[in-house]
Every structure is written in C-alpha cells, then in structure tokens.
Amino acid sequence: MNHSNQFSDLLQFVFMGIQRGSIYALVAMGFNIIYNATGVINFAQGEFVVLGGLIMVSMTTMLHVPIVVAFFLSTLVVMIAGVIMERFTINPVKEPGILRLIIITIAVSILLKGIAMCIWGKDSYHMDHFSGDTPFEIFGATILPQTLWIIGILVIIVFFFILFFNHTMIGKSMRACAINRDAARLVGINDRLAVMYSFAISAGIGAIAGIIITPIIQMDYGRGALLGLKGFGAAVVGGLGNSIGAVVAGIILGVIEALGAGYISSHYMDAIALLILLIVLFLRPSGIMGSSEASRLKDF
C-alpha cells in the first residue's frame, strides 16, 4: 500500500466516524439537558430518536409532505411527546427519588417502543437522502451529501444551543435551575416549568438526530436502545451535564469506533465505545472535560 492510499483510507474512516459521532453527540446533548434540569438520566432518549426518524419517514413517503416542512413538523410532534412525557410521568411525582425517576424513564422507553411497534410494525424504513446520494470525493475518500447535512445540522444546533442558554430568558433560567435549583426558585424561577422545557428541547434534539440519520441507517422501532446507549457513553465521556463536552466526546467516540473497525476488528466494533465509556467512568468519572470535584457531588 502506498502512502496516499493509506491516507485516503484514514480519511474515509474519519468521515464515517464523524457521521456516527454526530448522532451520538446529538443524543448526548439530549441526555444532558434533562440531566441538568432533573438530575436524572432519561432512558427514553433513544426512543425520541426513533420516533423522529419514523415520523419523518411517514410524512415524506406516505403523506408526501415536503422535506423541510416534514422536518419541522416531525420535530414538533416529538417535542410534544416529550412534553407529554414530562407532564404525565415526571411532573406528578411528589417525592422524586432518583432511583424512582430512572425507573419511570425506563418504563416510558418501553412504552414508547411498544407504541412505535404498534404504529409502524417491525419493518425497517428507508428514506431518500436529503439531496441525492452521489458521493463527493476528497483526497481519495468519499463522503455522502447526507453526511454533510448531518455535520451542518449539528453545528447549527450547537450554535442555537449556545445562543439559547446564554442569551434568552428561558435558557438562562434553565441554566440557573441546573446550577442551584433552590436558589433559582428563590429568585422566582419556576423550576417545574424549566423541567418541562428541558424535556421539550431534548426530545426535539433527539428527533432531529433521528430525522437526519434515517436516510443512512434505515429506521426501525428497536433502534432506540443502542443509539441511546452510545449517546449515553458520549455524555459520560464528555462529562455529564456538559453539553459542549458531549459534542466533542460524541465525535471522538464515533471516530474511535470507525478507526477500531477499520484497523483492529469489526467484530467488536460496538464494544469499543462501551469500553471507553467504562474506562472513563472508572478513571475519570467527571468525563474528559469535567472537573473531578464536581462528579463527587453529583447525585447520579
């Protein structure tokens, strides 16, 4: 093998990794938003991704809604699902023990999965790429236009995310709740409302992840668990609660997975990300970007 060939292979793996990683990053951001508001890991996060993808498929292929409209509609529907989840399962709990809340989110994830299976059946659904599937060639490696869409949308979401949490009243009050809920309540912030917003936003981000990845992976009702798990890994590696850390960690995990599959063994590819999750958990529970002091005080 000559050098340029090796380089193009490497680049190919990196492209693949970034594409996978972007999805992990989005799922991880969703985890973090709810974690910051409630101190709970929402095990139904993966199901938001599935719902987003499946609703998008139904809208575009069965109802023939234009892609852009369908994109926003699907996101909205899943956001509503997120709000419903919060209003009916998280909000009514009077003495919210963490263990109990975790199990509630597990129950919701089982329920959502069951609902998805009843509506869409067990087939996997495929959808056309947003703008064709003719790959671009860069230094001998190829990249799909859809991958560029995924990266682009990730960047836009991160941008809006920063804007929202730093420059809007709702975002700021949500941040205040995350830092110190009692204090936030004292200055008149409705912390329960902040929790609801966090479910809406996190469901929306999950839905977008599902929508943009569906053309590449074919969505089915059972994909939520693994996507959730990997995203969860990204959230931990990036430092629970740290959304920018999650984005970086998600992409790193994706790239390591792709490189592992490319250079070591594809048989254990899925185990690589999880192994990294465990190692980080054991050696640096605060994540690669968090402070170690903070993790000791965390409830989760």
Binding site: M1, N5, D9, Q12, F13, F15, M16, Q19, R20, M117, G121, K122, D123, S124, H126, D133, P135, E137, T142, L144, I213, I216, I217, Q218, D220, G222, R223, L226, A258, L259, A261, G262, S266, H267, M269, D270
Partner: protein, 383 residues
C-alpha cells in the same frame, strides 16, 4: 314393532353412522406451529403464519384430511429461546399436537430440539442452519425445509469459479444465520480453491459498513460475499456505491426479500445470489417441475394478503404440506409421521424434496436458482 324392521333400521343406522362418523365426529388433526411472529425476527414469522393459516383454511374448506379437520396451534416465539421452549412444551403437553412446524430461527430451533427429541414429536424447522438436522443420528425427530447453507455456498463458488475469480472477501451479519454462513464459506473454500482474503462482520444494528469495506478493498478481493439475513445487509451495496468500490457482490439466500432490495435502492442492481425460485416465479423456465406450485402459491398468497410473497412463507408452505401428506398417509401418530417423513418426496417452493433416513433436509444445490436484481426486481440470472 316388527322385529325384522327394527333389525334392518338398526343395522342401516349403524352403517350410515359409521360411514359418516369420520366426517362428523372424527377428531381434529392437531399440528403445532412455532413462528417468530413478533419481535426482532417478525419478518420471518409473519409470512409463515399467514401461509400456514391459508393452507389450513383451504384444506378444511375441502373437507379436511381423510375427514379429519386440520387444526393449527400457532405459537409466537418472538424469536426468544425461553418463549420457544415454553411454547413447544405447551404444544406437546397441553395441546397434544402430533407434529410441529417451525421455529423460524436457527437459535430457537436449536433450543427446542432437546424437547422434541425427548417427547418424540416430529419437528420440521423453517430455519436455515444445517446443524439443526445434523448429525442425523442425534436428530431423529428433526427435519427442515429451507435450503442448505452449504449448497448456497457451493452455488456461489461455482459461479465464481466460472468467472475465474479466486480471491474473495466475505462480510457477514452477527446472527445465527450469518455466523453459520461464515463458517460454511470458510469450510468449503478449500474444496473450490477459493482464497478468502478478508473476513469482516457487522451487527444487526450497525449503520455503516464503510470501515469494513475499505479493509476489504485493501485486501485485494476480486468479489465480495455478503452473508446475512438482517435488514442491515442492504447497507453494504449502498456503502459500496458510496465508496465507488466496484467488484461483483454476491449475497446469500437471506437476501430473498423484496424489502431489502427496496432498501438498497439502485445500488442493489447487479447483485447475484442463490435463492429459492419463489422469488422469480415469472422468469423460471416453464419446464421446471416447481413452476406450477410456485405460481399457485404466489398468486394465492399475494391475492389474499396484499403483500409480496417471501421465501420464508414458502418454507412454512413446504413444511406444512409435508405434514399434511404424512397425515393423509399414516394418520396422526407422531412416530408414524416421522417414519413417513423420512421417505417423503415433495415438489415444494424451496425445491424438489427427497427425504431419507440420512438426509433430513431432502434438498441439493439444484434447489437454488442463481438470481440477480434488475431494476429492483428478482430475475433468474442467465449466464
């Protein structure tokens, strides 16, 4: 009352009764079905269940089997071993069936074999793996209808040899089906002088196989065999197209599902795979003995369920007809059914079956037709 008349009436009453009895009071013939109707392998179980129900209805409408109604006890294994084991016990011990068809998956078939062996009930599996019926000495009560993996491999290798290709890459899904195929591909390679230069796998939940394909590309493979039964297999041709990786792609008989072709889109064109003739009924030559059976089953199925026929339903078709023929011939004694099955022949959807005490599958490599994809349709490969 006149005594003679009474005798006459009595005798004639009994004669009429005994003539009618099988039709009026005959016990149902009970056959159990184990299909993974729901769960992760529902795409197997659903057509199987549909097919079995369709045949039973047909048979009963025509008066049953020798006057006995055919009653099916259909159990859903959900592709899960524990449920399959429970369901098998239920069929045997509660419903008292005389034979079982299914399970749909290799793993669940393996899980229930100890039970049917111990309870001495014949089982005709609808799953692919060859270990289900081998070694035959240890699988006295177990039969299967899907074509053999090794025959599929042989057809692929025959085709590769004809094309003069020796260096191949293989990629397989990490399910029972994929692993069994991977083993066969490796085992038979030597016999054909094939040189496996790359051996990759992907999990059913995998989303992108470019990494594996780049490795295969670098290995210098001249053709790729993709062996899997899960939907993820359609990502391989798509990724190959993305990578502009242009070598012949062979699939296994697990690709025999229109939905996979649809999912792969235009990238599926040109894929070659050995499959049951059910997939390409229209392009099967008219002198083929299976043609009539295939056409009749396909038309009936598609008319009734408004869905494309699949080879998996075909496996259930073959299995159930084997049992029905046995019931016709020897009644519902499990041991007799078993003995009869060992001598059975059947022109089915999967091929022309010829069972024997040493062969509980009854098919050879001619059961496969080399099929290719043209404009998203299965057609018989002609070269």
């Amino acid at each position: 009352m006149n005594r003679k008349l009474f005798c006459f009436t009595a005798v004639s009453f009994f004669m009429v009764m005994s003539a009618l009895t099988p039709h009026l009071f005959a016990e149902d013939y009970k056959v159990g079905c184990l299909f993974s109707i729901t769960g992760s392998a529902s795409w197997l179980g659903e057509p199987e269940r549909n097919t079995a129900e369709m045949i039973a209805e047909e048979i009963n409408k025509a008066g049953g089997i020798n006057g006995h109604k055919l009653k099916l006890y259909i159990e859903d294994t959900q592709g899960d071993n524990t449920r399959a084991v429970n369901a098998t016990k239920k069929l045997i011990k509660k419903d008292k069936v005389c034979a079982i068809i299914g399970p749909s998956r290799s793993g669940t078939s393996m899980a229930v074999i100890p039970i049917v062996q111990a309870e001495q009930i014949p089982l005709i599996s609808c799953a692919g793996a060859e270990v289900i019926v081998e070694p035959v000495q240890e699988r006295k009560w177990v039969f299967k209808t899907p074509q053999k993996d090794s025959d599929c491999v042989k057809r692929i290798y025959d085709h590769l040899t004809a094309k003069g290709i020796k260096d191949i890459g293989i990629i397989s899904g990490t399910t029972g089906f994929g692993t069994a195929g991977r083993d066969q591909l490796k085992a038979i390679a030597k016999e054909y002088g094939m040189n496996i230069v790359a051996d990759e796998t992907y999990s059913p939940a995998d989303t992108d196989m470019t990494a594996q394909l780049v490795k295969i590309r670098n290995s210098g493979a001249k053709a790729l065999v993709n062996w899997s039964i899960v939907p993820a297999q359609s990502i391989v041709p798509k990724n190959m197209k993305q990578l502009k990786f242009d070598i012949p792609l062979y699939q296994s008989h697990g690709f025999g599902n229109v939905k996979y072709v649809e999912a792969a889109g235009p990238a599926a064109d040109g894929i070659i795979f050995p499959g049951g003739r059910l997939l390409c009924v229209d392009s099967v030559s008219d002198d083929n003995p299976q043609k009539a059976v295939l056409k009749q089953y396909r038309d009936a199925y598609e008319a009734r369920f408004k869905d494309k026929v699949s080879t998996f339903g075909g496996h259930a078709y073959d299995s159930l007809w084997l049992v029905i023929n046995a019931l016709k011939a020897v009644g519902d004694d499990p041991a007799k059914i078993r003995d009869y099955l060992e001598t059975s022949t059947l022109v089915g959807t999967g091929g022309v079956f010829k069972f024997s005490p040493t062969d509980h599958n009854g098919l050879d490599k001619n059961a496969f037709e080399m099929i290719t994809i043209k404009n998203g349709e299965f057609v018989v490969l002609k070269d």
